[in-house]
Every structure is written in C-alpha cells, then in structure tokens.
Symmetry: C2
Subunit: 490 residues, 2 copies
Amino acid sequence: MSAYTDLMTFQRETEALGQVMGRLGWDQETMMPAGAAEQRADEMAALDGVLHARKTSPKIGEWLAIVDPEDAAGKRQVELIRHRYERTQRVPADLSAALARTTSLAHRVWAEARATNDFTLFAPKLTEVLSLTREKASALADGTGLYDALLEDYEPGTNEAELETMFDALRPSLVALREKILGSDRDVPTLAGTFEEAGQLALSDTLARAFGYDTQHGRIDKAVHPFSSGSGLDVRITTRTMPDDPFNCFYSTIHEVGHACYEQGIDTDYLLTPLGRGVSMGVHESQSRIYENQLGRSKAFTGWLFRQMVAQFGDFGIPDADTFYATVNRCASGYIRTEADEVHYNLHVLLRFDLERDLIAGRLDVADLPDAWDTRFEHDFGLKVDQPANGVLQDVHWSEALFGYFPTYTLGNVYAACLHDALRRDIPDLDDQLADGNTRAATTWLRDKVHRHGGLFKPRDVIERATGTVPSEAPLLAYLDAKFGQIYGT
Amino acid sequence: MSAYTDLMTFQRETEALGQVMGRLGWDQETMMPAGAAEQRADEMAALDGVLHARKTSPKIGEWLAIVDPEDAAGKRQVELIRHRYERTQRVPADLSAALARTTSLAHRVWAEARATNDFTLFAPKLTEVLSLTREKASALADGTGLYDALLEDYEPGTNEAELETMFDALRPSLVALREKILGSDRDVPTLAGTFEEAGQLALSDTLARAFGYDTQHGRIDKAVHPFSSGSGLDVRITTRTMPDDPFNCFYSTIHEVGHACYEQGIDTDYLLTPLGRGVSMGVHESQSRIYENQLGRSKAFTGWLFRQMVAQFGDFGIPDADTFYATVNRCASGYIRTEADEVHYNLHVLLRFDLERDLIAGRLDVADLPDAWDTRFEHDFGLKVDQPANGVLQDVHWSEALFGYFPTYTLGNVYAACLHDALRRDIPDLDDQLADGNTRAATTWLRDKVHRHGGLFKPRDVIERATGTVPSEAPLLAYLDAKFGQIYGT
C-alpha cells in the first residue's frame, strides 16, 4: 500500500501545481497588467517545465509497476495515471518541445492572418503544426488510427468510427431542419436598443446563483472570451458584456456555470487527484450545454428570465414571454460557430470534424483547405463565405494543434439531450420549477448523476449510468425538431 | 562562460517560479474565494517544495565552483547566488521543516491569542519558535553573533552593533521631541465625518499616478492589509478604505507605490535575476517612506492634496491648507505601531529591536516579555499598555520567526531622510513642483539614484552612492525636529 500512497502524494502535488498553472491562465485573461505578458510567458514556461518533469518522472513508472489498490476508486486512479503516463512516455521529448514552440508561434501567426484576412500567411505554419501533430499521433497510436490517437486526449474511450456514425446521422437531419426553419414565415424579432453593463452583470450574477454556482468556491469576472477555470475548491468563471446583446452575457454565464458546477460538484474525496476533474471534454460540454440550452433556453425558464429583464431594464421592446422565448432561440444562418444557434451549431462542428480528419489522414492538403471549407459551408449553410476570417480562419484550435477537440462540442450536445430526456422523466414537474427560476431539482439531479463522480467512470459510462440507455443522437434530433418546430410552426 | 549561462538559466526559472508564488499570495489576499483556503495551502506547499528543491540543488554548487564572470553585474549575480546558496546549505533540512511547521501553527495561535488578549496562550508557541530561530541562527552564524546571522536575511551587510549605535542615538532625541510636541498648546484638529469609498479610491488612483506608478505593469486592488507584490513587469499594490479615515487609504497607497516604483524602476536587463529585485528591506522601506512622508506628507504636496480632497468631497471641515498640513501630520501617543505618526513610529521599532535582541541573546525569557514590553512602552510613550493586543501581541512578526526584520523599518526611515537631503540639494525648486502635485523630478531622481540599480550594489552603498555621504541618523532627526517644530511651534 505504501507505493500507492507515495504515488498519490506525488500525484496530488502535481495536480496542485496544475491548478496553479490554471490560475496563472485565469489571471492572464482577467487581471494581468497589459505590460506583463513577456514575464508571464517566462513564469508559465518555468512552471510548465516543472510539470513536464513531474509527469515524465521515472518514479511514476516504478510505483506503477508495483501498486495494486483494492478499491474501485483506487483502481481507477491508477488506471488514469497509468494511461496518461504511458502516453507521455510515447511522445519523444524533442517532438513535445517542437510542438510547444511551433504552436506558440503558429498562434501568433494565425491571429495576424485572421486580422488581415490572409490564409496564405497562416498556411505554412499550419502545415508545420499538422506535420508535427501527425508525428505525435503516430507515436501515440497503439494499433489504432491517427485520429483515434488524438481523440484520446479529449474524449478517452471514443473513436473516429463511432463519432462518424453518430455525426453522419445528425447532419442530413440538421440540414433539413434548418431549411424548414429558414423557410418558415414566422417572424421572430431580435433585440433592439442597448442594455447597460451594470444591469447585465447584475442579472448575470442572479443567473449564476439561480443555477447553483457556489461563489464561496468561485468568482465571476469579465474576460474577452468567457471561460471556466480550476477544479475543486476554486472554480472561477468569466463572462462578457456587449451593449446590444445581453443574451451573450447571460448565456455565456450560464454555459460557464454549467462547466463550473460540474467541477464544484465532484466528491471532495477526489480533491487534487485524477478523479477530481471532469472526466472528458464531451461530458464537460454536456453540462455547460444542458445548463445553457435545455434548461436556460427552455420556454419555462425564459419566462422567468423575461420578467427579470423587464425588472432590470424596463420595457425593452419584446411584448410578452412567448415572443421573448422565440427571440432567445432565434435561428439564423451565420458564419461564426461561437455565435450559432442550437440548430446551426452542430453543423459548424461537423464541418470541422470532417475537414480535420481529412487533414490528419493526409486526404486534404493545407493549401486546399479554404476551398474545402467554403464548398462544404455553402452546401450546409446555404451561404458563401465572404472572407477567411469568417471561414477557415475563425477558430484558434488548429493553430494550437487541438485536432480532435472539435467533435467533443457536438458530443456534448448529444449527451446533454440524452441527459435531458432522463431528467424530464425523473422530474415530471420540471417546467413548473423552471418557470419560477428554480433549477434546484435539475442541478441536484445532475450533481448526483454526473458531477459527483468526477473521473470515476469512463465518459460514455457516465451518460449511460445516468440515463439508463446507450447514448445516441436521437434525443438531440427529437429535442431540436420539437422545440424549433413549435417556435417556427414547421 | 557556459557554466555561468547554465547557472543563470536555472536561476531565472527559479526567480520566475518565485514570482508565481508571489502572485498566489497576492491572489489569496485580493481575489481568492473564501472557501478555497485549504486547497490554496496545498498549492502553495507544492510550489514551495519545488522552490526549495531548486534552491538547494547540488547543481548550483557545481556551477558556483567553476563560474568566473568578468563584468561587474555578472560578479554581483554570482555573489548573491553564492551567498544565498551557502546560507541555505547551512540550515539542516529538518530544521527548516520544523520552522515552517511551527511558524504556521504559531501564526494561528498568535491570532487567537491576540483576539482573546491572552499572552499565555501564545507563550509556549513563541518559546518554540524562538528556540528554533536560535538554532537556525547558530547554524547560519559564520563567526558572527546570532542576531547578526538573522539580520543578514533582511539587511545583508549590516550588523547589530552598527544598528545599535545608530538607534541608541535616535531614541533619546525622539523621546525628547515627542515630549515637546505633546506639551505644545497648538491645537491640531483631526478629520471628522465620513468619506465615501468611491471617492477615496478615485483619489487613491490619482495619487498612485501622481507618484509615477505604472499601471501598464501593475494594478491596484483592495486588501485588509495593504502590500506591494511582485518584481519586474508585474508589480501590484493594494490599499484599503475606512469611512472615517481617508488618510489611511491615501498614505497606504503612496507607501506601497514607493515599494512598487522601486521594483518597476529596476533595469530590465536584470529581469528575473537576483539583481532584479530591491536590494534589502531597509532600502525598500526607504523608498516607501520617502514617497509617503518626506514627499507625500510635505507641506507643498499636502497643499495640492487638500485641493484634491475638496474637489472630491467638498468642504470637509478643515479650513485651509496650513491646517490640513498639520492634520495630516498630527502627532499623538498610541499603542499601535502601524498607526503611529512619523515621530512615534521609530520608538515603536526601537522597542521591538531591543526586546528581540534580548530574546535571541537569551537575556530575556518569553515569560518575562510582556512586562519588559509594558515597562519600556510606558517609559518611551508615557502610556500604560491597557491590554496585550495593544502591546506585545500586536505584531505578527515574531510568530513567523521574523526576528531581525523590525530594525529595517527604522533603517528605512534613516535612509529616506538621507536621500531626502540629497534630493533637496539636487532639486532646489522641489516644493514648487510638489505644490502642483508634480513628483516627476523627485521620482526620476530616485529612479536614477536607487531604483534602476536593483541589487547591483550593497544596501548601504546604494545610499552612500546616491547621497555622497555615509548614512547616519542625523538627517532624520533634523528633518523631524524642523518639521514638527514648525507644526507644533516648539
């Protein structure tokens, strides 16, 4: 048992240092003075060096060779540590370093290319990143495909074939649904006017609390791109405000609260261990999405939100709660993934999933990527991409070598819909509660079924245990059809 | 040259990690959610372990054995690294660990003892801390006395005898001055009424900017106890507000700006090296004090501040700038060091200096400390200590084993007065500038003479080079006599 204790002591320190690294990232986006960036890079590089040395320490290998915990949690801790250690061991140090250097540079070049709308500026760097990523995938692949090897970083246990089957079933239905909606003659109004920042932030706080965010173990600040950060007893979120779009603030807040409540809800026995974090990107996204969409954008809850907005801002031009519900859920074709509605969002993701698989497989050259993007986009969205910043250059992910990350967004939406079905089944009067702005039963259910387990079960098993069925895309499609069919009368 | 490069690369990483540790401390006092304390302790302990391992790494010894840089800055870098490394080597690891454990516990016991006004609660822990500190001093003493060995951590290059001579010359003059002042029949009014927080913070910002604080490389937040934190490109300060005492806010801000401008002003060539930080506690305090007192509490500058306060708060009951100047500098006997005026402050420090030297030398038992404190206090302040929280329990330092720290406060005041004499000599029209709230010539002088050098020169040499004379207590006494003689007509 002593080797297990030693291993876990070492691991806890590593996890604690990982939390420090996360806090530096939080600070950088919220508090750091503008002129401190250069020094901060040195600070983070130094801490990254410490973390890398610990994660590759031969001591871990020695402990792993002899540990044999008896309880399920201990076995799973060791399984996770072993899995990550073996992956770390497979990637040569010089390849890791080359990837870190290249992505750091590529990120800057990407930002410049996006600002100047010039893909050719980014192409050489993306080619380098892609080449190194394929090399890394080869090193990691353990009898699996390259893309499978990359997926493992974000959604352990899934694979390309499984996702492809699921997503191929989604795509035609989503395209058909969006065509129906856009062909509808229902007129859904948008918000007009401006909404003062203090009011947006006050209501954002109210929403965070309504969804059970614990400010004794977190805090809310502003950032350019909202995010959630940290695990355990210190889980912080950020939001943003735009004068003419308070929904951006409110639903960013609810989305990040979903991520944060997952982390805050994990059994504190798992604090600073591999089990003490959300189990995968997909399961994480399922929490942010079910908070944001299935609950936060439900007819019942938006009825309550409408009253809060009237109380905060007075008459803002939307006549009643029904209209408000439609406005919150208004569908429109657009270029940008992060601004997309529930119907279009997954089409954005599916496009990236298919293109990045082609890149990794070597079926698509970087030089041909913009054309491939634009062709696919026009097919699925009925719109011609007007400029690269609205197309292939819009997302940061590929510059950072995050190949395999995109599909977890849609997987999260799929999981959210599965959980939502089970939630509705277990809480028949959910809408009555949401209509009062009361999410307690829903968030307690999610905490019990998902959050508290942290990394104890494999990602897909979390959903299966919570819902009692094998996850599939069917609930998401049924949910979208019903919801938007009602709103648009299709 | 390669060993030097390797040593400095290693050292830069250590310094960067030290900055991260400082940022965690800042976060803890300003941003951290209340419920995160336990996890934060784990995070800081993990990082402390990393720092300790680096600071005691045998690699440093190997590099030090062969490096031989040719330029003055390189020689000084090596001198500082060698000095610290050798000291670290001299303290056995188990003694370091025992001190860390004991002071952590003693700090909590001290807080409880202070809250309940019960010295006997604290005495056993203080006895333990003292015993371990004496043990550490023995290990560090290199042919010097125990107290000298401790001083070296805060004010390298000075010693007990030197400070004793200087402070013994100060004490009777300060006692005589305070008696003259308190015997004066001049009536100096205090502030009355309350001052809203937003106005205090706005004026605090104005003051920080007036004194040259660079918010591109820093930020101002609120904290219970104001402090300055960080070096190089990210130097943050905190302040606090009390409704009935805006001077507390303003002069806390100016004081911390003094510390921060020192750090911000250091030559960026020294970034993340031993030369890239203020050279000693005494020189650091000289900067905070000259900003706060000789400049910030001058008649010329308070004339400008009076106008700012009237503009911010309207008529607040002080009729004119002359009365305001007296109010800002009002002298009164009081129990608490941190609330003391310029005349009483050093008497507080001298008391602690003498008592802690007696403790370290074994001339005074912990059990006899309260009596010794109260007797000395009554002699120097003409007041009987009414309760331990207002006497021997007021300061945190001894619970944290910071023996040798107190004298740097008064040394800072001594140095500030020396610098102030030289500053007045070099800038004859300083008062005309300060009367407009313009500190640029003064702060530029300090930057050139003190700040930019960082750790390049030994502490005392910094002052001697800046002023052209050997530092002595005479300028401080002359400054206090003149200033308070004028205010109190003595």
